[in-house]
């Protein structure tokens, strides 16, 4: 069984993101990482690899620098690496077409992806790829297990846990799960360096990005956060508790 994991390289959650003339200033981003939800997708793929001998193919689409994400995936155990090299903006439909073609090219019947990317947060890649490929799609997945006839997937949210059984071919869009992400060890890092990365372009996949329906007009900073509110003394405890519950939704 071949499992494709779609990995996006995004600014690290610790990196400061700035805007320059209406778009994100990529040159100023100090660190790029695998999008956190994609890491959970990758972790699940790797447990299918150790559990049922699946071959894990990591696929990324992005500029040269994004091959680092594939090397990181190889360091924790991804078997094959495919880089669709593309520099500059790409609309979501073209992106989904390209990734679908890439999945077909590697012959994967199971596709694992993060529920959304940590930079754009649009959440369209998993469902979009599923639609183009005509695969079933399950979102907000926290865990999957291979069954006799497909997969058992767990969707777990604060309001309840749902288990679904899914037949191949399928796409799973991962939420942050309770599984622990594996860390690369030195052996993995040394082997990752030797692993070949197959590099292809949109043209190789027969994808034409010119007829895109959606394009970004501009990017702006969020509005200033409102002033903090100050409370003093034990008498304010009840009011603070109410605000934490009703405004901040944290308790």
């Amino acid at each position: 069984m071949k499992v494709a994991v779609l990995i996006k390289q995004v600014p690290d959650t610790t990196a400061k993101v700035g805007i320059i003339s209406g778009s994100v200033d990529e040159g100023a981003i100090s660190k790029w990482s695998i999008s956190p939800y994609d890491e959970y997708a990758l972790e699940s793929a790797l447990s299918l690899q150790s559990g049922s001998g699946a071959t894990v193919v990591a696929i990324t689409l992005g500029p040269e620098r994004s091959s680092k994400s594939l090397i990181d995936a190889a360091a924790v155990g991804a078997d094959e690496l495919l880089h669709v090299v593309h520099d500059g903006a790409l609309g979501s439909l073209s992106l989904q077409k390209a990734l679908s073609e890439a999945v077909t090219r590697v012959g994967a019947e199971v596709v694992l992806v993060g529920k959304q990317a940590a930079d754009t947060n649009s959440g369209s890649t998993g469902p979009g790829v599923a639609k183009i490929l005509n695969y079933s799609c399950v979102g907000l997945v926290s865990r999957i297990e291979a069954g006799s006839d497909g997969f058992e997937a767990t969707r777990s949210t604060p309001s309840g846990i749902e288990r679904v059984s899914v037949k191949l071919p399928c796409v799973f869009a991962f939420d942050k799960g309770d599984v622990e992400l594996r860390r690369p060890n030195v052996r993995g890092i040394m082997m990752a360096k030797k692993k070949p990365i197959e590099r292809i372009t949109l043209a190789d996949l027969g994808v034409d990005s010119t007829g895109e329906g959606v394009s970004t007009t501009s990017v702006d900073y969020p509005p200033e956060k409102p002033e903090g509110q100050r409370f003093e003394g034990p008498d304010s405890a009840a009011e603070v508790a109410t605000k934490l519950r009703e405004e901040a939704n944290v308790i």
Binding site: T13, T14, P36, A118, I189, K193, K225, G228, R230, F231
Partner: protein
């Protein structure tokens, strides 16, 4: 009770973020951009491990005076032990990579770095360089995974800076050696499965491998340390301790044996101390920006900025020193005096940075909520072990003048 602030987290999805307020490693001159891709990946892996598994647990471990066994297992499975050694299941990395590993570990705690230094440079290295083929095969693969722990017994109660006068003795007795004497201040001693013990055989210093459980050998833990509390420090006691003949390290005689081990460990310390300094700087910087006195953040005052600028200056110099020494070590173009300079300088500035950082934190600086006092106390040990600060001055003094000043009237 102080004022309490409530900020609504409107429109911010933080669920995918792991550690927004994470440690920012100071690298003013982008020295790390000189590292190879592999070295950077190893750095990130170790740094991530320290964030997740050391920082949240270290204060408690120090309070209880323990080195957690899970640290041994996890460090072992990262595959970083004996980093620069090749073959026998060892990682075979560059010395620079070893330095980076020490720096990242010591950013967490000097005790964690000490564990790795002793295991790799002081216990695995002598077996790797001076051991027989059988000894290498027997111990090294299991030491590389952390399954077996080693320690290094050189210092004695009465012989610290001058180990050459040690009194621990080995005598031959049929198929065995008999060891008598005592070692003190031995890192990992009580938890070690094997000890590399330096003792005199017919007046000549030789290395011996003593295993836990060998008759006449015990390793009681030393208690009451104010420094390096998350590291085990022990005595090694040999009372007619009998070991088989094949436990002598065949490849070396004299002080060259222990000193070659120390060269490697000292190299790692020159990097490691920078990790402690970076942790103290990081804490001082963020504290200075958030602590308001006389209506302004204390970071707005020239005296505080002067302290931060001085830290930045010394850390940057120390990083360049460590990096360049790493390159020299990798190229095989180094002399022990190069290592003495870097160990002495980087530990010295790290300790001073820890003290200044503690000062910037005011009273908070003495609490274990901040890492600075722990680093400061740790660095007092680091300044003393692996050749005290002044012993390194004497090594350099001898190099400069050609006159040794260790002993009087020689």
């Amino acid at each position: 009770m102080g004022p309490f602030e409530l900020r609504t987290l409107k429109g911010l999805d933080l669920s995918g973020c792991t550690d927004i307020m994470g440690y920012e490693a100071l690298d003013f001159y982008d020295v790390d951009s000189l590292l190879t891709d592999e070295e950077l990946m190893i750095r990130d892996a170790v740094r991530g491990w320290v964030d997740e598994s050391v920082i949240p647990k270290i204060e408690n471990a120090c309070r209880e005076g323990v080195f957690l066994d899970e640290w041994r297992q996890e460090i072992g499975s990262m595959g970083i032990l004996g980093a620069p050694l090749k073959g026998y299941g060892c990682p075979g990395l560059s010395y620079t990579a070893y330095g980076v590993i020490c720096r990242e570990l010591e950013r967490g705690d000097s005790g964690i770095r000490s564990f790795a230094s002793v295991q790799g440079s002081l216990a695995m290295y002598p077996i790797w360089d001076f051991g027989s083929e059988d000894q290498k095969e027997k111990y090294l693969p299991r030491m590389a995974t952390g399954e077996l722990i080693g320690c290094f017994g050189l210092t004695e109660p009465d012989y610290g800076s001058n180990p050459g006068d040690m009194v621990t003795k080995a005598t031959e007795d049929g198929d065995s050696f008999i060891l008598n004497g005592a070692k003190m201040w031995i890192t990992n001693g009580t938890i070690a499965d094997l000890a590399i013990v330096w003792a005199k055989l017919d007046g000549v210093i030789r290395g011996f491998i003593v295993e836990k459980g060998d008759p006449g050998f015990s390793a009681p833990e030393m208690k009451g340390k104010h420094s390096l509390k998350a590291s085990v420090t022990s005595e090694l006691v040999f009372q007619d301790c009998r070991i088989p003949k094949d436990r002598i390290l065949p490849g070396v005689k004299g002080l060259r044996g222990p000193f070659s081990c120390l060269n490697n460990a000292r190299f790692g310390i020159s990097w490691g101390a920078i990790g402690s300094a970076q942790a103290c700087y990081d804490s001082a910087r963020s504290y200075a920006l958030s602590r308001i006195q006389f209506d302004h953040p204390i970071a707005a005052y020239q005296l505080v900025q002067n302290k931060l600028a001085w830290m930045l200056r010394e850390i940057t110099k120390g990083q360049l020193l460590a990096y360049h020494l790493g390159k020299k070590k990798d190229a095989g173009e180094w002399i022990p005096e190069h290592i003495s300079l870097a160990k002495m300088n980087n530990v010295d500035i790290a300790l001073e940075i820890a003290r200044v950082s503690r000062d910037i934190h005011g009273a908070n600086g003495i609490l274990d909520e901040y890492p600075v006092m722990r680093h400061m106390a740790n660095l007092e040990s680091v300044k003393t072990y692996e050749g005290t600060h002044d012993i390194h001055n004497l090594i350099l003094g001898r190099h400069i003048t050609g006159i040794q000043a260790f002993t009087k009237g020689a």
